[in-house]
Subunit: 411 residues, 4 copies
């Protein structure tokens, strides 16, 4: 454990002024101060809590955003609209939020619509340079042993994908030619992050991590990365519940879902172009678990009064013995940022751990945290979670072996 305790780990967040980011930063500070319990944090469960992961107090936050709202503004708005923070908690961290805010770059050119017009704006190269400089300065200023870049931006329209995306060189060419129709913000971000020696987490449904060129780059840089699309609500329940229908041979006729959201995510997803990626990730889960594709639809509605709270209602219509039709409904009333933030905390700790252990490429052991986990065929929550347990146990026996051998040498 002595490695992590002497080193600071950077967390560079794209979308650093957003609700998840604010919740993550406040929560990490509050944990360090002992103001909250460890509820919601998977890495604090046994046996994960026996790994030598970076401690919450070792994490240093910075990042970038298109909005110049400060972290304190975001926190206050979260407090007022959603009542997920107490005034006392907010007061206890406000000063530190102000300081962290200085490590957040603001530039509304960090976002563009790949399918839209492309007026005179900073080129992709200029943007990449700005991000790289920001990360480098951040790393140096805080004397960081490693930086994890986390994408917490909202859904973006899909870029046009070509064969050039399949290689590092192809991506370089597209960037240098300023092809904003081919390079979406999330592609530029993961490219820049890996180039800048950062591990990378894609909490969004956006395209970046899926490209052959990115995969090659991660291997070349010997860096871990993973995604896509954090699993926090309806899909989480779906992947826990659908196996029950499968085990019992209960034929799911229809599984219909309705999501009511009041935050920015809801506003963005209300626009059809942004919704495509999100819905695709929600869709193929059932076919994977059930072995057939039931009728299935997912509605996403923007309901401003809900603030950061999400209410999802699912109707499951299924057929049992004698072909009798029965049904199940569930309502999920969760707070999006509260559910998402601890997953990011967990995965940042795992990313730094993987990087420290020289593991490169997709971190399949993080599958249970994502709607669309890379390189992992199974969608059932429990089989995904088993990957995390196995990974943990493998490293724990390594740790033990190392300790034993160290003790032997010392002896």
């Amino acid at each position: 454990m002595n490695q992590s305790s002497t080193n600071k780990v950077g967390v560079w967040i794209a979308g650093a002024h957003g609700d998840i980011s604010a919740t993550l930063i406040i929560g990490t500070l509050a944990l360090t101060k002992g103001l909250i319990s460890q509820a919601g944090i998977t890495t604090e469960l046994p046996p994960m809590n026996r790994l030598s992961l970076a401690r919450p107090g070792d994490l240093i936050f910075g990042g970038m955003d298109i909005s110049d709202l400060s972290l304190v503004d975001s926190a206050e708005s979260l407090y007022k609209t959603s009542r997920t923070l107490s005034r006392e908690l907010l007061d206890a961290v406000t000063e530190e939020l102000g300081i962290i805010n200085e490590d957040i770059l603001v530039n509304n050119n960090f976002k563009w619509n790949p399918a839209g017009p492309n007026p005179s704006m900073p080129t992709l190269t200029e943007l990449a340079d700005e991000i790289t400089s920001g990360i480098d300065a951040f790393r140096e200023r805080h004397n960081l042993s490693h930086v994890v870049v986390v994408n917490l931006t909202s859904s973006e329209p899909e870029p046009e994908i070509s064969s050039q995306h399949a290689t590092i060189e192809g991506l370089q060419t597209l960037i240098s030619k300023n092809r904003k129709d081919h390079i979406s913000p999330s592609i530029l971000l993961v490219y820049t992050a890996l180039t800048a020696s950062c591990s990378y987490l894609n909490f969004t449904p956006n395209y970046g991590t899926k490209l052959g060129g990115i995969r090659a780059l991660a291997q070349q840089q010997c860096l871990p990365f993973y995604g896509n699309d954090g699993k926090t609500g309806e899909t989480l329940v779906k992947t826990a519940l659908a196996p029950m229908f499968a085990f019992r041979n209960l034929q799911v006729l229809s599984w219909e879902g309705t999501n009511m959201l009041g935050n920015n995510d809801g506003k963005t997803l209300h626009q059809p172009a942004n919704r495509v990626a999100k819905l695709r990730n929600k869709g193929h889960v059932l076919e994977n678990i059930l072995g057939y594709e039931p009728h299935s639809g997912v509605d996403i509605n923007y309901v401003p009064s809900l603030g950061d709270w999400k209410t999802a209602w699912d109707l499951i219509h299924f057929q049992g013995f004698l072909d009798v039709k029965m049904s199940m409904q569930f309502t999920w009333q969760g707070c999006d940022s509260i559910l998402a933030a601890p997953l990011v905390l967990d995965m940042v700790r795992f990313s730094e751990f993987a990087a420290r252990n020289g593991e490169a490429g997709p971190m399949q052991h993080l599958a249970s945290f994502f709607k669309d986990p890379m390189d992992v065929p199974e969608m059932a929550l429990h089989t995904q979670f088993e990957r995390l347990l196995k990974y943990t146990e493998k490293h724990l026996s390594n740790q033990q072996a190392t300790t034993a051998s160290r003790l032997n040498q010392a002896g």
Copy 2:
């Protein structure tokens, strides 16, 4: 597969005139006639469907009941009250139901209240003899290779348990002394079944299978048995869903359940004495999966208009990151007999298979079918189901080996 196809297997049902029994028998007939799909039947899923299990058409039904309602009456009542059968289906099997009915013993002395008075009635020995003769005649009449006894009666008040229950001899003594306060109907049933060389399934929460004397008897007779309390509704969902909260370290504060039932089960469970066993089985599931015991209550209400339909509503109140309280609700609208009957079919097939393979004692691989599975510590549905998969795969590789060696010899 040739073993099972030439042999008839008996299914001797205690509670043979009840809803589950009628549904099971009608469904098995309908399956054989190709009138319904295989929905709801776990043994028809791969890889279980590759085991050489008895085919539905090989099952011969008989049994006993305290009510002299005929099977056809029960089926008609199910049709009218709950609309789970179509008229066409019922018409297609009515004649056969009439014939099967002749293999059902009726005696309202098969039930007594261990805690109640004990007036002049047949003694336990007389009752045991009646059951044994019934089973023997049934076996002979249909030339059965094996008989599985299934307990589908309703909840009974708990008997007084003493050290005598821990041995075969103790049980014999209690029976011969006609101690109806110590020997409940379900204890007499399992004792008699095993003595009569039948394997045994306890689909009820009743006490019989849990005794040391019964366990010893099964070993002595080299017979498989299992229980307790079929898992068909709210608890099924609970054991599928609770692991999700555990994996994410979401602290369950309260998990409250309400069950509305309109069938005999609901009427019986409305009486506090009968409810004890049922509620106990529902209770300890959460502590097992979560590692702590949240506030938890289960209400059972008798709502006659629902007929055989059950509506369960659960409220789950949980705490996540920043100690924010969130909630989930689900409503389960299932038909009890429709959910229960195929489990009995599955387990009858597995029991005969185990007996044919000389396996004695508790069949832990059937854990996923029960609320309170014997000798199995884990309550999470997916880990229980894994036991079934492993058992199946072990036998499949044996089967393959056997087939291979037979082919070799033939060659």
Copy 3:
């Protein structure tokens, strides 16, 4: 009561082969035969049941459809998909359904898309003549004292409305010029019905009844008519529940609704053009009752496995004292045809009664049966129902007076 008992009343249904029509006809036959209770029928409640309304046995059914499916086919499909009819009930009426079917005109030209192309097909005049001949023959064949035309077709795209729609002459001109872009099927139907001396009920959201020209025609013909859009599910609940929030000054922030439908209505409404009229009628209800317009959305999803069953889920987010946000949800699981058919029966009886009493124009006392009741400002269910009670009481005191004077004369 002697007037109605000696006379047969015709019910001419547009959409006579549909689910609501089949349910209505079967139910009316079953009522007459004493096979079902009076559940669902408002006119059988006191004091309405003391009016001299036509008896179910006096109603003779006929009509028209674009589909050549027979009534028996529709009934069988209803029986199979939705289990809302028992086999026994169906068997008891099958022969009569076959006979009634002979009074149903089939012509797939009865429907056209006003916004679509207009290829060579029967002209509006030809279609109107066909309908008129059909009704006339029906009236004569059965010696009917009066015919009520009921529109039970599905939603249609809206026609282009011009100033010509405001007068009888304008409508005549549009019809004679075969302007299918201005004259939708529902406009032609109500025009033809009134011209043929029939009273008219619009159970659909379609446009016909709303035109000035139709209103004038009803007055000229001295005929009652009413609409629009039968209120059977979510909106029914909404208009019962919203007043509660109004009375308590609980500010509704958002009222979001989701409708899952498996019948033809669901299929049609899945197409955006057809949905316009439907959603408009659902929308303005809240503003009317609450006095302000909360955020509100209504989703309509086609879920085939539900058959004729509809599942609606509504989320109501509201603000109370200290501006605290609270919420309510409801799930409505009803069978569309079963809920709609008795309303049609009720209103047919009221229409004939109004016609017999020489009442012309919109029947505002039927407001509680419609989502968008004509000429009635209030949307709260209880105030609408009060209109029916007042109307009934007025006529009951007339009836009493008449009886009293007759008895006097007799004496």
Copy 4:
């Protein structure tokens, strides 16, 4: 309006340290300071807001409790457990809460169990004297024009009722003989309040107001009073929704309710003796509205983690046309104190108004606020609310007439 604006009105609360009381007092202060909206307050709706009611700023709070928790403690606990108050709101009123607290008598002898033992404690006469002195001092200290006594205590076991309860003299005798088995706390309270010239509101299900002796006393003292049992949640919805089933002749087969509560009320109602009164009030509502008594049950469960939040789930099983069974469910997630407090505010204003206008006896126009409204036969929410509207309109036309005549005299 000048009458009320120059006079201060006292609100003497039994249970002044409880959640509803704290919410009421904080809300009234916040309203006066303009910190919250008027949401939840019926008297701020037109036309009620045109009556010359006491203004929130004119209300002076005091009272009594058995707990010595201060008002500030209660408010802090409400803030922490239930997040219904913001820190800012609490800070803005804390000082005033401290001052109001000095007007609250604390004596744990204000409560006793009528069915329990009766050890040496203050006699009923001593307790009555203490309350009277408290009220008198409160009235004098604040120069109050009128005092309204409000019972906000929790449910109490029912006292033994005799013929002596039917007269003023009988009550006097029971009190002077210290018959705590016949005089429950709520009886002593209303007796004392009326004797001390206060009007009285019984927000609890407790017995006091129902006695003939109390009725006579109110008439003798010329004072208004009303009860019983504030209607804030499940029953509120029930009385809004049940008329819908009645209007449509939909036969309610079963209406089952489950209430989850986390506050003191939940804890108290968990004890069967205290539950009797509560459940009785919830029960007869359906029979009154529907005209028949469906199967119906209400469960009350204590779920501590919910704090002041209540979650109620109701299942309504009903039968429609063709005797088809359908169902509706609703979930009500409200905060008890937030729903109750504004009703108390409304009724205090109406009580003072009635007293000022010389109205004595039960205030039936307040029926819509109660589960078990005195002297009002109808249970449907809308007909109850109509009483309030009619009462208001009658007084408004009086006000207008008075103003008009005053203007005439002035002219």
